[in-house]
Each structure stands twice: as C-alpha cells, then as structure tokens.
Point group: C2
Chain length 708, copies 2
C-alpha cells in the first residue's frame, strides 16, 4: 500500500535493480513466452547473479536447474519475478514472503486495470507483501532491468538484443511506452543504466524508482514518463533527492487530471489548471519537461556528457553565415547569450581568415574545407581566449568526408583534451563511425544545429540549478501571532484582512468604531484621507442609503461623519442592528495586482500571482507556485508575468515596490502551507503595490476555509 507521507525508503528498492538472486515464478522453457524470455535474455547478457526458475513441472528450464516452489530454493532470494496468471499471484506472493524475498516484480495483469474484483485482489496482494516486509513493483507492469549487470526482469521484445550500457535511466509508469523508450534509446545508440516500469503501482511508485535511479552512481540522467500523480509529496521528495545528487531529470507527463472544477469558488481557482500547477512544480525543482520524444532524447543525450555549464554564454563557429544566424536566433529563443570575442582575438582571427565574421558567431566560411588547419585556432580563440563554457560548431557535412576527417582528427583530439571541461557540440552530418569517434572524444553530435542549441540551453539551466546555493525555496516563518484558518467557518472581509496582517501580509488599516470620539481618534491614527462606512448585517447596499462617506480629510469631519452615518442608517432602516462605523484609508495610485491561493487536489495550496483587471481576465497573465516558497522564488514569479513592465513603471509611472510584493507572496505561501488542511482558497484582489519604498497593501480579501 503506498504510504501517504513523502518518505522514500531507497534501501528497500535496491533488490529490484541489483539482486544477487532472481527467482522466476512461472518460468517457461519456451524462450519466446513471457515466463521464458527473462531467462533467455539473462543468458544472453551473461547476468552474473543466480537465476532460479520456479516451475513444479520441470526439473530444469532452459538448461538451468528449476525448483518446484520458491521455498525449495537453497539460499536467499533477493527478487522474485512473478509471471503466473492473476488467480495464482496471491499464493506466489505469500510463498515469497515466507521465503524472505525482499522484492517482487509482478508482470501478471488482470488486476485493478480490469475490474473492481481485480482491484480488491491487488489490494490483498499489497497487504500480504506489506505485512511481510516485501516491496512490490506492479502488477500489470513490464518489470525492471539493469544493463550494467545484465539483470533483465522483463519480457519486452527489445530487451533480447545486446544491451548498450550507459548513463540513461528510464522510469515509465506505462510499460508499453517504457519499452518503446528503451527501443528508441537502443536505435539511437544511447546506453542505458536502469529501466523500470510501474504498471498499477500497488506499492512501489514512479517517484520511488525516479529517486532510486537518481541516487545510483551509474546514472547520469533520469528520463521519466507519467500519466498521473499518485503521491505528490513523494514526487517532490524524489525530485529533491535527484537535485541533491545533481542528477538531471527529464519528465514527460501527459493526461489532464480533474483539478480545479471543485474549487471554482474563487476567481483564482478558475485560472488554475492541474497542468499549470504541474508545470510549476517542475519549474520549482528545475526538471526539464518535454512534450516530444525527440526532445526527450536530445536532452538526455546531452546530459550523458555530464557537463552542466552554469553560464549562458555560448561560443559559435560556423562554416555558413546563414546557419550562424539560424543558431544565433535559436540561442536567443532558448535563453542563451552570444557574448562577443575579445577585440584582440578578433583582430588576430581576421588576419588568419580575411572574410570571416569574428565577433561570435565565428564565421570561418567554406575556407575551413580548404584549410582544415583552421579548426584548432578557431576553437582556441573561442574556448581559450573567449573562455566560453559551451560551444557549438556547424560544419555542414564534413562527417561524410573521411579524408577531411582524417586531417581534422589531431585538432579534434587536441581540443577535446585541452578543454575537457567544456560542453562542445558539433553540428554535422556524418557517417556512424565518424560520429562515434567524435563522441568517444567527448563531443556531442547533432545534425540539426537548432536541436544542438536547445540541448545546450537545457544543460545550462541544469548547470544554474546545480550551482544555486542557499535555499530559494525556504519560506519565511509564519509569524507567531498568526491566526489559524478553521475549517467549516466563514470569514468576513474585515476579519480576512486582519488575518492577513497577522500573517505578515500588509492590508489596509481598517477599524470599526462605536462612537464619534473614537472615530476622530482612530481616523487620526490611520491617517487621512479616509473612507467611512456604516457596519450592519441588516444593511446590504450601504451607498444607496448614503452609508458611505468618501474622502474624509480631518478628525472633525470624521467625528461629524460618524453621527451622519448613524442617523442616515437609523432613518433608512429603523430596526437595523448597527455594529458601528468602519474607517479605512483611501488608497489611490499604485499598481493593481492579485494574489491568490487555491487548493490543488493533487499538490495542495498553490499561490497565484497576476496583475489586476484585464491582465488576468483577458490575457490570463498569471503564474503559479506550489506553497511554500521563499522570497527569491517570489521574485522570479513576479518577473515571469508578461505584464511585469507595469511594475517597472510605464507611461511615466514610478517603479513599484516589487520587494514588498515578493515578501507578501512568500508570506502568503507560508501561511497557506501552514493551513493546508483547513484552507480552501484566498483571494487578495486588489493588492495595491505602491511606488518603490512605499510598500504594498491588500485592499480587499476573501479567505474561504474548507468545509468540515
């Protein structure tokens, strides 16, 4: 049964990937059958561990001694691979527990995916395993493999061919898609480390496998594929483990969850889609989310070089001016920069190649083809004098020209050796053997320069994430005196603002007074001009009875105003219960923003930020973060909205107090997280951000607690 806290017990997952003994329950002597394939595959790979076929009908299977039951096996069994039909699985799991097996992969289908009875059977199995202290992957999955050890606990038809070992680990919720990813990796010549598919996830989840793979020393990148999120806390935990291990994660998530519809009460809710929230999570944890398979592998391939420059500056070499511009455009779009080479270097280069562009891109022209000796000094200029941490060189189809490549090899070797710490992409068309030679030297090869640039940009984002010190996610503390949100209550506007203030979020200083003298005194305290309103549960439309006074500019007016309002109220609604008069400052100027909190059914409280009015209504120009987060993250959030310029000052307006806004957002996130079990939503609209140094203030607020 999946636990609901975020804890991931890494050590219990090891037997799925590094077992010393694998038992196959339902082993077949037919190597094309599901129960026969894993055995055949492990014979091919030369798996060094012990393989124990379990089948009551044969003394030997595929040349390996077989056992009638798992209990008959001499010595310990780390992992059992269960391939018997669904009705026999429970007994098999019971036997495993009895034997002291630590982990079972259940390939069999016919459980939660087909019927309620199947789901019940699946729960039963999970319970047996949990009580016996055994972990389960599956049922209805395609299993796991470890290319390094040749341990293959799957029947995937692609796994029968020789494995290419490398740094890519693959975790896929879907077995079929996981197998497809494995096939594609092989077709592209990329080496794999660990591979796992989770199927029905009755115990071990996607996040468990992701975390295990990320901390495995042979993994250089984890590719993940998910369709839905089971335990969000665990997903976050796994991403934290990946980040702590400095392992890049690439994720593809499809499918739309049922978010938002329930929580459509507040304005904020209507803008939150689960996909937006999921995207937010990945941004917060520096995961590269992909939407196509090509991009997935392009980025994974780049990750295997293990170079993550924390620097946006890219050096570009090209044999075609046009492609130089294509690359510059692509770099700009991907968020990379092309700083110019030092003046002196440019001058020296101009002497070597008269017509070359020397700024950056460095345009060598077709001259390179006539004079391959140029390659070395060009790279020296870029990587040595230019000092760029990453570089791309477009050299057309030189990889098809064996003679040329022979002449270039010493240069490529020298560059690779001297600048082994740099991320270097060659964008060339090439024969496979030439490609391999360059890759072995440490170069990455992308035929399409644009894809090369995008991949470099991804490496740079990882690099910046890995280099980031301090805790940008650490939220500010919730003030000691903050009021908890109580489920099942209803909070009026006045109280909502008071609660925000206690939580550290500035709101207009409103007071309710019950005498003219108090009105005068409190008005002084607030500062003029102020607004005065009658407060009565029996008077709905205050302005219609003259119950609102604007622009009160001194204490005398406030004193008189109190009497005026009480009189008007008594006249208009003689039996009304009068609770006093509300005083509030008149807020004018500043930039209108909206802060919100909405409860995502998957990730809990999510903070929204946007500019007010049409920015939200027409442009949906809002951004989200999963609560809680720190001020740094809040600053990023503010810079993300397209209307950010409004806060920097347009049409002669002064720049707004973005710092106060960021503080408020971070505090709101901390307060929301502290009340996650009882809070439905918060809507602070408008939150007026005054000019720099003058702070910001909530003018209106709505806090909706969850129902009991």
């Amino acid at each position: 049964m999946p636990s609901n806290d975020g804890h991931i017990a890494i050590e219990t997952l090891a037997p799925f990937f590094n077992p010393e003994t694998v038992a196959i329950i339902g082993a077949s002597s037919d190597p094309t059958k599901i129960g026969g394939r894993p055995i055949q595959y492990m014979k091919i790979t030369g798996y060094k561990g012990r393989i124990c076929p379990v089948n009551p009908n044969y003394p030997e299977i595929q040349g390996i001694p077989a056992f009638k039951t798992i209990g008959d096996i001499d010595g310990p069994v780390d992992m059992a691979l269960v391939v018997v039909p669904a009705p026999y699985v429970a007994d098999a799991i019971r036997d495993c527990v009895k034997k002291g097996v630590k982990a079972a992969v259940i390939l069999s289908s016919g459980f939660a995916e087909i019927s309620e009875e199947g789901a019940a059977e699946q729960q039963k199995i999970a319970r047996i395993a949990a009580e016996g202290g055994m972990r389960i992957i599956g049922p209805n999955c395609m299993g796991t493999l470890n290319a390094n050890t040749g341990m293959i606990a799957t029947f995937g038809s692609s796994m029968g061919e020789p494995l290419k070992v490398g740094g890519i680990s693959i975790a896929s919720q879907s077995g079929a898609f996981g197998a497809h990813l494995f096939t594609l990796a092989r077709e592209r010549g990329y080496g794999v480390n660990l591979w796992a598919t989770m199927g029905n996830q009755c115990d071990v989840e996607f996040s468990d496998c992701l975390a295990y793979m990320a901390q495995d020393e042979n993994t250089s990148v984890v590719i993940g594929y998910i369709e839905g999120i089971q335990n969000p806390k665990k997903l976050i935990e796994s991403l934290k483990i990946a980040k702590a291990s400095k392992k890049p994660v690439i994720l593809m998530k499809v499918g739309k969850s049922e978010v938002g519809t329930a929580a459509a009460q507040s304005h904020t809710a209507s803008l939150t889609g689960s996909d937006a929230v999921f995207d937010t999570l990945l941004r917060q944890y520096d995961v590269h989310r992909v939407h196509s398979i090509d991009e997935m592998f392009d980025v994974a391939y780049a990750c295997t070089a293990g170079k993550f420059p924390a620097d946006k500056g890219l050096g570009v070499i090209t044999v075609s001016g046009g492609v130089g511009v294509i690359m510059a455009d692509a770099a700009d779009e991907a968020g990379l920069e092309l700083p110019p080479l030092p003046e002196r270097t440019q001058k020296e280069l101009k002497q070597k190649v008269p017509f070359a562009g020397t700024r950056n891109p460095l345009d060598v022209t077709a001259q390179l083809v006539n004079d391959p000796a140029l390659m070395l000094p060009m790279f020296e200029a870029l990587l040595g004098e230019g000092g760029y941490k990453s570089a791309i060189c477009f050299a057309a189809a030189i990889g098809l020209n064996e003679k040329m490549m022979e002449r270039l090899t010493p240069s490529f070797e020298a560059i690779a050796k001297k600048y082994s710490d740099r991320l270097i992409v060659m964008s060339i068309v090439s024969k496979p053997e030439i490609r391999k030679k360059l890759e072995d030297l440490g170069y990455l090869i992308y035929e399409d320069p644009t894809r090369g640039i995008k991949s470099i940009a991804a490496m740079t984002r990882y690099g910046e994430a890995f280099a980031r010190t301090g805790e940008k996610m650490a939220p500010p503390p919730v003030p000691a005196g903050s009021e908890p949100v109580v489920a099942g209550t209803s909070i009026n506007e006045f109280d909502a603002k008071k609660m925000l203030v206690k939580a550290g979020i500035p709101a207009v200083d409103e007071r309710i007074v019950s005498s003219a003298a108090e009105a005068a005194r409190q008005a002084e305290e607030i500062g003029f001009p102020i607004v005065m309103k009658i407060v009565s549960p029996d008077i709905q439309h205050k302005s219609e009875i003259g119950g609102v006074l604007l622009n009160i500019t001194d204490a005398k007016q406030a004193e008189a105003g109190f009497e005026t309002l009480m009189e008007r109220a008594r006249k208009a609604v003689p039996n009304a219960k009068l609770e006093g008069v509300l005083l509030a400052p008149m807020v004018s100027g500043g930039v209108e923003t909206i802060l919100g909190v909405v409860r995502d059914p998957v990730f809990g409280p999510v903070v929204m930020f946007g500019l007010g009015g049409i920015f939200v209504e027409v442009f949906k120009d809002v951004t989200f973060r999963i609560a809680p987060f720190g001020v740094d993250e809040a600053r990023e959030m503010i810079r993300e909205v397209k209307g950010y310029a409004m806060l920097q000052g347009v049409r002669g307006a002064p720049p707004a107090d973005v710092e106060a806004l960021a503080q408020a957002l971070a505090r709101l996130s901390a307060y929301a997280a502290a009340n996650e079990d009882t809070l439905e939503s918060i809507d602070v609209n408008p939150f007026i951000v005054r000019p720099k140094g003058e702070g910001a203030v909530a003018v209106d607020a709505l806090i909706i607690p969850r129902a009991n």
Copy 2:
C-alpha cells in the same frame, strides 16, 4: 540588372534548368577541379543534352570534344557555365552574347562580395548580358541542377553521387547552404527535382527561381532559403505564381534588415520590425516559414505526398494510450482537431477490442501486436465511417519486426488502395527497407509522432489556402473623392481626420465655426454632447487658459460657449490670431484601438492593428499586414491579437462593432497603398470601436507625408 517591377519572365529562365546544350567556359580535364566536376557529374548522371567544354588548350576534355571559344561551337547553345577567373568573365559573357546564348551561370567569385571594384565589374557584366538579351545567375554562386535530366551545372561535392529524383525543388540564395540542403535531402532519401543557388544575384534573383520551380510540373514543393529581400514586388509575384500553381512553399529567412530605424517618428514605427513584416507577408501568402532545418525537411517530405486536406479533423490510432494523449496535445497545439468517431462505429469497435479507447484517439493497445488483423478494421473505422481526411497511426517499433510487417502488408496495401486520397502518417520506428515499402504505398513515416502531427497540420494549412476561393486580398476601392498625400507637406490633426473620412475611414465629426450662431447650428448637426475648443496657432495650451469646454449639451450652451471661449482667448493672449472654435462630439465608451501605417523600407506601407493603451505598450500585442488587403484579411488580423476578447465583450461590456473596424482597416490599407510613394506614416490613436451596429470612429489622427 534586376528590374524593379514585379514581373517575372518565366520563359527566359527555362534554359537554366532545361538546356539542350551546355557549354562549360573554363572546362578542366581534371574531374576534381571546379571546371571539371560538372562534366564528370553529367557523365555519371547520363545527361542526354550536349556538353561542350570550352578551353583553348585542349582538343578534348574528359573524353568530350572541346572548343577553343564558345563561338566555335556548331549549333545553338542554351546555357553557358562560366568558371574562368573573375578578370576573364566579362569577355566570356561578351562571347556568349555574340554566340546567342540564352542563359549564363557564373560560378566565379571575386565580384561584389569582395570590393567596390568587384561590384563595378559585376554591374558591367550584368549590363552586357542585359543588352544582349541574356539572363545571368550568379556570379559567386554554386549554380543549378535538374535531377530529372541529369543536368548538373555546379561543382558541389555532394552532386557527384547518384541523384535521387523526386518532387523537392530547392532555391537558396547562399550557395554553401543550398549545397548543404541538397546533401541533407539525399541523406534522408528524399528526391530532388530542380536546385539553384543565386549568389550575388546580378540578374536572376531568388524570386525568379522560386517562381520557375513552382510552375515546373515535376515540382511538388519548393524549399527556399534567403538572407535578404532584393525586390519585394517580385517576391510577392513569385508567391502568387506558386499559389496559382497550388505548389506549397517552405521558406527559411534569416538575418535582420535595416527596417524601422529611419521611420521611428510615429508610435507605430517603433513596433514594426522587418522580421514582423516579413512574417506577415508569408502569412498573407500562406507560405510555411520554418526556423529549423529539421522542420524544413519534415514539411517538405509531407508535401511530396501531394495531399493537402482542407480540413482540420484528424483521426488518430495508437497502440499506447500515453502516446495517444501526446498526439492529442500536439494536434491541439498545431491547430488540428480530433472529432469523435460516430457512436455506432465506437460501439462496434468496442466489441472487437474490449479495452480500446474508441472516441479518437482510437487506442488499440498492444492488442494490435497480438492480433495484426485489427489494423484493417481500425483504419476502416477511421477513414471510412469516420471520414477523416488525414490520419496518424502510432505503432511503436513494428517497423523493426519483419514477421509482423509481413502479416500486416495486405492490410497496408488494402488501406492505401481504398483511401489513396487520404493523408496517412505512420509513426513507427522501422528498418529502412520496411520504411521504403510503406512509402512506396503512399504512407508517410515519422518516427516521432509529434513531428508527424506538426507536418499534417502544415499540409492542412496548405489545403485550406489552396481551397480558398475569392480574393481575400482584394482591397476595397479608394473612394473617388479621397485626397492624395502630398510629399513634403505637413498635415494638422483636423485635416488628417478629414482626409481619413474622405478615404472611407470614419472620424469624429469636427467643425470649425466663426460665430456663435454657427456654433449653435453646427452643434445641432453633430449631436450632443459636444466638446468646444478655441482654435489658434498662437495658443498652445488651450486648457490652461480655459480654452476647452466639455459636455456641452444643447444649442444654447454652444452659442454661449462660443462667446466665452473667444473672450477668454482675447483676455489671455491679446494678440493671438483666433481662427474660430472647434466643435467635436464627446466620445465615451467603446473599445480603444490603434490603427497605423508605417513604411517598411522593403515592403512599403504596412498596416498595424492593436488594442489601445497597455495592450500596445506593455504587451506589444499588435499585428501587421502589407497593404493593400481586403476585409476578410482585416477580420483575420483583428482575431489575431491576444486582446481580441476585449472586442468580443468582457466584464459585461457588449461586443464591439468588429465589422466596422475591419472595414476601416481594409480601407486604410487601400488608401496607404494608393499613396505609397508619398506617405511616411499614419497613426490613428485612438480609433474607438463602439458596440456592434454602432460603428467606429477615429478620435485622433496623425498623417506624416514623406519628405520631398
């Protein structure tokens, strides 16, 4: 010398691509030299025309009789390929003219690309040819080829290998990049028809070649690459020829031209970048602009199928639910739709595959692998009963499984035969020979489903463009009484609005009156409420002296108002020249928009549209069209801005009179085009669009004529 009108003399270009006799001036007996390669290449391809090497030193070159001069050749010469060094080119061209050669390709470099002397020499050569009625491609280019006839007038190193003949024609301004594109086409196994590079374009331009290729019957798609635009009228003409021939055009343009800086006088100008204008042109002419080489070939490959469904509905089959969602997401992003299958069909399918998704995507699950007989009914459901004009089927790696493919072949054949008019993409990993088999049957193969979807979307856009009848580009006539813009003059706001009105664009009805009685009468005519302002060249800040009266609601007030304004003006500025009082309606409500015209140095008058205020200032939410255009195009333009919702009515506002707005935009475009030689810019800001049925009106306008 390039002509400056848009005329393209197609017939004069034929000798560059279909010559019966090719003379090589500077022919070499060394088949690796520039002057030797074309001869060697044509011997390999078996070019059926006559090859005439010209070289005074050899009687025979590469086994072919050579001539001392071109004049010595017996019989006519259609095309001369000039490879002699720059200083000898002019004489060679003179000889060609004397011989009556119709076309010359000059590969030699050393002209405008290196110096002013070179440019002068190039002009001289162009003049000689023009006077002799001969066309020139080059100099400093890589020549032309025709894969169908094996005519190869280039030294590109890739052209020596066997050519794959097909429907892709390639026009590239850059020789190096053109050669690279040719190489890539070959590496991907795509067949080529015509190929040309233009180099310095001293006569024949990119647009000429594009037009020629588009009207060639063996071309199924034209790929173009340009760095700058020489003759915009010709480019437009070539795109019109391509459209009339229903030939899809794919264009990559890099480099930023010098637009805008000069014309930064008006607000509009600051938002026009040449790239935005170029993008606009391509949108107007339904060209598919690409930003990466992969996308270029992905789309070109799809075009070769020759199927352009004018229908956004796509049918999807998948063996993986997850990939089904990936494809649905990608389709949505690319502007395609996934209409559901008919209910009855879905029911029938459910009986065949119990667990399949049957709506669309049609999720066959891995069941297809167990039961390949499902393929046929699945496609029948989609293409027959569903009636989709295009379909994509993701079937993982079945293309690697020869046995499976053997069993599937009859189904693939039957589907291809029965639905030969449909665009069908198979998204599979496959062996080259299996891929080829399917392609020969008419299927398109994309390994990555997302790229397949994007390419289908491109075909659909072409289909809709080809199917479009009527002239969406035909502008409304400019009204007979419209006033021409006169260069070197200055136009005040009052006159500008009058000119707009005469051009058919509604503006506020302003009058200047010189007596109180006239004020009363004219105010009645305009309709109340009105605004009154003193008119004097000597009074700059009218409101400071009380020279503006708002909200005049009847004739009496207007009469009195006249006297008040004259009196105030006389008092404040005793010697001021008073020209009268301006009356204008007070405009309130409606949606603020901005219409603009800016002169692009390349494409002439360009019309801009955007919503007023922050929409333009913060979001740069504007769109452009090259003038003139029709009302349909104007409607598209309006729908394009992100703030379009403002015009549809938000926050309870009624929908705006979009029709009146579209009329105004189209008329503005017609007026701008009619005055293209004298007009610098027009800025109509704000142009208030009233609720539906109530029209729209220019409240302020600025017309800037060009300097003399």
